[in-house]
Amino acid sequence: MALIEKVKTRRRYSKAVAEEKIMTSRASKTKVKFSKKKLVAEILFEARVLNRHLGAAKIIAERVADEVETWASERSFITEDDITQVASKKIAKYDKDLAYIFKNRGKII
């Protein structure tokens, strides 16, 4: 399972952590495991904001989460920003508005 780092700004690798293949950053050094369940919940949250049919949204969310999980399993370390980017690209195949709002979470003010 890939390790995810909460990174929003510049990425920085120290020698020690590079050996362990874990990414660190100035912003945060918290490591969390990729959670498919969490990603599905986040997509469903945005779907509720846009008043989408929850059944359809759940199918989209699970498909996207599966694809992102496959993508993540091929990498040794990824960031939360990477996941947002990849997930929003995959959501855009089904619903552009949902992809937009997912990608721009927390960028209103």
Partner: protein, 231 residues
């Protein structure tokens, strides 16, 4: 004629204050967080609470500023005071034109980081009308670094009005300040979603920036022409 000039100053200050974007941004954030978690009925109540909070703070801060001027100065500010206010308005106009909006395709603003973080946190946790009122107050407070000059200018003109007009001008000022929030709420009620509004705001970001900056400059010129030089 003197009263008309004072009313125009208050009107201009209110329009400039209304064009600042923190209030609208936080309202959209509140919608986002609330719709994601709650039923639309509760969201409606919470957003009205937020707008009421912004109205309350705008009214109270304007009235308090007027009172402070009256207690400290005994009268509305003289020429020297107005010159200081004009200078501050020009400085804030430059700040708005150069820094108020952050770079990139987003609507993020140049407000202190801790205020933005706190507002996001409170918007996510606002669960009742009372919390929403508090959020409205906090947002209006967060906008004060840019709005304080406008508040002092409006309060100063408020003191020059006859007593019967003061209450009307006070309520009118606060109503104009919260008008973008009411319009945003109506637009959402009429079926537009957050994505459409947010895209529209991003497309018109430059317009808002120039509009707000120019409003500050126009107000500064207006004060110089009619209050300081007394044309």
């Amino acid at each position: 004629m003197k009263e008309i000039i004072d009313i125009l100053v208050i009107l201009l200050a209110a329009i400039t204050s209304a064009s600042l974007q923190l209030g609208t941004g936080t309202l959209l954030m509140l919608y986002h967080e609330s719709l994601g978690r709650k039923i639309p009925q509760k969201t409606r109540r919470i957003t009205w609470g937020y707008i009421f909070g912004a109205f309350l703070f705008s009214t109270l801060v304007l009235a308090t500023t007027a009172l402070i001027i009256l207690v400290c100065n005994g009268n509305p500010l003289g020429e020297n005071g107005l010159i200081v206010l004009v200078s501050l308005a020009i400085v804030v106009a430059l700040l708005v034109l150069l820094f108020y909006y952050r770079k990139g395709r987003n609507t993020m603003l140049w407000v202190p980081d801790w205020i933005a973080k706190y507002l996001k946190k409170r918007a996510a946790k606002a669960d009742s009308s009372a919390e929403a009122v508090a959020l409205g107050i906090m947002t209006a407070f967060g906008e004060l670094p840019f709005a304080v000059v406008l508040t002092i200018i409006a309060a100063n003109s408020l003191l020059s009005l006859p007593r019967t007009l003061i209450i009307i001008a006070l309520a009118g000022y606060a109503m104009i300040v919260i008008m973008p929030l009411i319009i945003t709420k109506m637009v959402i009620k009429n079926g537009k979603n957050l994505v459409a509004i947010q895209k529209w705001r991003i497309e018109n970001k430059m317009f808002f920036r120039v509009f707000t900056g120019v409003c500050y400059l126009v107000m500064a010129a207006f004060l110089v022409a009619f209050k300081i030089m007394g044309v």
